[in-house]
Subunit: 258 residues, 2 copies
């Protein structure tokens, strides 16, 4: 659990620790598992979980295990990411429909990206990302775009490593990564080639917000075999530009293509 | 704020009150607004909000207002509704692509439905729902499907009213609603005609879970003018059946159509 001070955790911390105990591979947990994962006594866990369940922030399943509740999800749907998602969805739909491949929307939480939306056809190449999941930014198309436009201190921190190798093709050398980020800034897109899985590649482009800074990135993930990724660049950039325009980005309303 | 006992609210309650202060029309709030909406002293609000922001459960914007944070959204993405959404998405995509109209996935939280997913084209008829938003169950296609399969005591509570009229076409008479719910159970779908807005109608069908109970409903929302809704029924039912099969519903793997 992530406490920033050495003093005893507050009740606020304990509540967040209970929420944070749920993970993608364990979205349902028993009281005793929650107690173990949070490090809280069983009686304290019981009391907090009871209060959270009474308010709908957690849900008790038929098997007695707990899960994140509908109420919390409704609140979370008001987050910045979900507003972004609403604006982006029609453009992601268009991109999906034109290609029938995986289409993704992500934001940066360095050193990782968080996937805010993903549209996948039943026959699209399978991918590791999931809505709400994370991957290391340096290894993904959306991550390279977001890093390229991140503040210098964020870039330096990521460049300082460690840079995990998902595949032999993952960019793990800081100097190579630095060059790629410069290329992304110059080109306005990136092709991330088999960096996450050897079967797939992605084409990503930046989404600008109303203050003309990059607020998100979109990508399309396609099979590495038999795809000429350059043919996908115009569609991905056009969708990114459409979303940027909808978000009020000054550059997306200027005439010359960016 | 929704406290079930008369005693002083616990810290857990206070944390949830802070989350609950954010609403679709006010997703960003200042400290003093949070204090006013929660009824907590400004100093207490300041302390709790500070702790929540430190952990990423809230985010402080550049204008100093607070918003629900990415961390909370990630946790909420582990809720039951989002698992359902992942299973449903490919079928919702197919339905969207075949029609280019609004496609929705909703669950019941009587007397309302909560929209877990919505896919809208840029040219689809505009609708009131939004991901994470609610509408009265009796007035919507998905709501009629979910009510029809809800436990008797839930139905009776809704039938006892009040039943809000969104339009002159909204079903507000308990006996009429009771008949419609019986029809839905018999037919396996419903056409909700101009009940929410006079410009649109919806066609909805139930999604079954692995215990063969109805866990969600899907619908397609189309312009009321110029649409023959019966032509949409097979597509909506087929998509609902596909999602049910993916969720392991016994009835969705049996041969005769349900």
């Amino acid at each position: 659990m992530r406490h920033t001070s050495a003093k005893a955790p507050s009740v606020v911390d304990r509540v967040l620790d209970v929420f944070g105990a749920f993970t993608p591979d364990r979205p349902s947990l028993s009281l005793s598992e929650l107690s173990r994962r949070t490090g809280l006594p069983l009686s304290t866990t019981h009391r907090i979980v009871g209060e959270l369940a009474r308010r709908g922030a957690l849900e008790r399943q038929e098997d007695g295990q707990y899960r994140v509740g509908l109420w919390l999800w409704e609140i979370a749907s008001l987050s910045h990411g979900m507003g972004l998602r609403e604006a982006a969805m029609p453009y992601l739909e268009d991109l999906y429909e034109a290609t029938h491949e995986n289409v993704q929307l992500a934001v940066l939480d360095a050193p990782e990206v968080v996937y805010v939306e993903r549209i996948s056809g039943r026959n699209a190449v399978s991918i590791l990302s999931r809505v709400g999941s994370r991957l290391d930014a340096h290894a993904t198309g959306v991550g390279l775009v977001l890093l390229a436009h991140a503040p210098a201190e964020v870039q330096e921190k990521v460049l300082a490593g460690p840079l995990k190798a998902y595949t032999p093709k993952t960019i793990c050398a800081p100097e190579q990564l630095r060059r790629v980020l410069a290329d992304v800034r110059r080109d306005g897109f990136v092709i991330s080639d088999r960096q996450v899985e050897l079967v797939s590649l992605s084409v990503a482009a930046p989404v600008y917000g109303h203050q003309d800074s990059v607020v998100a990135a979109i990508s399309i993930v396609v099979p590495a075999a038999g795809t000429e990724p350059r043919t996908l660049v115009p569609a991905v950039r056009a969708a990114a530009r459409g979303i940027s325009r909808r978000l009020g980005a000054p550059r997306a309303t200027r005439q010359p293509d960016f």
